[in-house]
């Protein structure tokens, strides 16, 4: 356990070393959310609400979704792909830790850094400039906290899976890019799932993506309450367990593949 905590710490410190990174990060996140804020104001026009979300809830939804993304988002799929291509992964495998576990911890270190240095200051700035619907109910915050940890896990699991495909596809830049685009749309980062046409909503119900962005953002904006909220979190939990299966299988196959490549 100690060594994994150490990995979180190292990655955190590595991120901290690049100072210009976080000033510009906060600034760019704020511009980003600002632009979306006005876009959604324009989309609502004079309307009171769309699909049960008021304009205030909607702008909050976007702000929270982008801030949460700072926490769950990481590039470990790209890193894994790089390490496989450079052959570094062979060395990693003989080290006394789980490679995938280590990657997850590095992602977590990065997430904690972004949460503390982008999300929280960004959220403060954004809420000073724009009107947002921020709940002061501690129970909403704690459910949101649980939910966002689960979104980190689901997103990381999907990243691990995409990264591991490099073992079989050799060059998967296109796949990684496609995955990112699909997640932005299907996770509800760009649009709440409830805005999609019914048939699309039905399809998305069977995919893990809405556990990444839609669920935590809806909890924060109180679009999900009570039973609906508990169900959404249980769904997230279910996906974190289900996704372990393809990861396990792919990893087993990948190790076999390694022996052939390594010669």
């Amino acid at each position: 356990m100690g060594k994994y905590l150490e990995m979180i710490r190292i990655r955190f410190l590595m991120m901290l070393a690049y100072r210009t990174n976080y000033y510009s990060g906060i600034l760019i996140y704020s511009i980003n959310i600002g632009a979306y804020y006005f876009l959604w104001q324009a989309i609502y026009g004079g309307k009171q609400d769309i699909e049960g979300l008021s304009v205030l809830q909607m702008t909050t939804y976007i702000a929270v979704a982008w801030m949460a993304r700072a926490f769950y988002f990481n590039n470990i799929d790209r890193e894994i792909a790089q390490e496989i291509k450079e052959g570094k992964v062979a060395v990693e495998l003989i080290r006394p830790y789980s490679y995938l576990g280590m990657k997850t911890m590095q992602g977590l270190g990065e997430g904690i850094f972004r949460l503390l240095f982008f999300s929280i200051p960004g959220m403060v700035i954004v809420s000073l400039i724009f009107r947002l619907h921020v709940a002061f109910d501690p129970s909403v915050w704690s459910w949101f906290g649980i939910s966002i940890v689960l979104s980190f896990i689901i997103n990381t699991q999907i990243n691990l899976l995409t990264g591991m495909t490099t073992f079989f596809l050799f060059n998967n830049d296109g796949l990684i890019r496609a995955k990112r685009v699909v997640i932005d749309l299907f996770s509800g980062l760009l649009l709440p799932i409830s805005f999609f046409p019914m048939w699309a909503q039905t399809v998305m119900k069977y995919l893990p993506f809405q556990g990444i962005s839609y669920v935590p953002s809806m909890i924060f904006t109180e679009g999900f309450k009570g039973n609906e909220m508990i169900q959404a979190i249980l769904l997230q939990l279910a996906w974190t367990v289900i996704l372990l299966i393809p990861i396990g299988v792919l990893w087993k196959l990948a190790k076999k593949q390694m022996i052939i490549q390594g010669g």
Binding site: A17, Y18, R19, T20, N21, S24, G25, I28, Y29, I31, N32, G34, A35, F38, L39, Q41, A42, I43, Y44, G45, K47, I50, E51, N171, N172, D173, G174, L175, R177, A178, V181, V182, D184, L185, L190, L191, F195, F196, P197
Partner: protein, 261 residues
């Protein structure tokens, strides 16, 4: 002349390499199409809930998006330098570049060329033709020429901004995580700038002039006369930004001391 010859040699080499790995190429085409599709889906869903966006109709917004895809495709093919810092400064590749008798920026652009992104030109024109047809836009004989001029202008704006971002790497230790976020900001130039407040509109017009890649030039073809002044400034802003970026780049290269020692 020498530069032109180099350019074609690199392109020929590039095509040979890409055709070696055809499935790769296919996957990249598909992921590009997917990316373009997702943005279209966003517009379609939004207009499923509203009729007008600050006075702009669905097909007008789609038309702007179609236009945007063209300069963006040119940019992605020739200015693929978003990981310049990691790839060239941190890993010391810049040393290799500087020993050769061609301008360093030109070499890096050639090395990182990604011609398959030009597919976006085709998609963009298709989207414009489709939405233009729905809007009943007529064409003058000079419109195609203006279109090419505006598209190149827009690509230069994009290129200029990203070269400036890359050149900053010579001065600061910034890692490249600003770059992906810059791609996000680039997207806001696609929406009518009159929906934003004055600060954001100012930023998108004069500081990070992404509005010149989408809404401004496209409004010319949409016949929005109040934006014509901005539309015709597109090539000017493009040349201005690319000149500024090359100037900054040259200054940065003088400062560069190499990695490692």
């Amino acid at each position: 002349m020498f530069y032109l010859k180099m350019f074609f040699q690199y392109v020929a080499q590039y095509i040979k390499v890409r055709l070696q790995y055809r499935t790769d190429l296919l996957v990249e085409f598909l992921s590009d199409l997917l990316f373009q599709g997702v943005n279209l889906v966003f517009i379609l869903i939004v207009f499923g809930h509203t009729k007008l966006l600050s006075g702009w109709s669905q097909y007008e917004i789609i038309f702007i998006y179609g236009f945007f895809l063209v300069p963006f495709a040119i940019f992605s093919s020739f200015f693929n330098i978003w990981d310049f810092n990691d790839r060239y400064i941190v890993k010391g590749e810049m040393d290799r570049i500087l020993t050769r008798p061609i301008h360093s920026l030109f070499q890096i652009i050639l090395e990182r060329i990604e011609l398959e992104s030009l597919l976006g030109v085709v998609t963009g024109i298709a989207v414009m033709l489709y939405s233009g047809g729905k809007l009943g836009i007529g064409l003058h004989w000079y419109d195609p020429f203006l279109f090419i001029l505006f598209a190149i202008g827009g690509a230069l704006v994009y290129g200029g901004i990203f070269i400036i971002m890359a050149a900053i790497g010579f001065w600061s230790d910034a890692k490249t995580s600003i770059m992906p976020m810059m791609y996000n900001i680039g997207n806001y130039g696609r929406y009518p700038v009159n929906i934003y407040n004055t600060v954001i509109r100012f930023v998108l017009t004069w500081i990070l002039p992404f509005a010149f890649v989408g809404v401004y030039p496209a409004s010319y073809f949409l016949g929005k006369e109040e934006w014509y002044g901005y539309a015709f400034m597109t090539p000017v802003i493009g040349i201005l930004f690319i000149t500024l970026s090359v100037f900054l780049w040259n200054k940065g290269v003088k400062r560069y001391r190499g990695a490692g020692n």
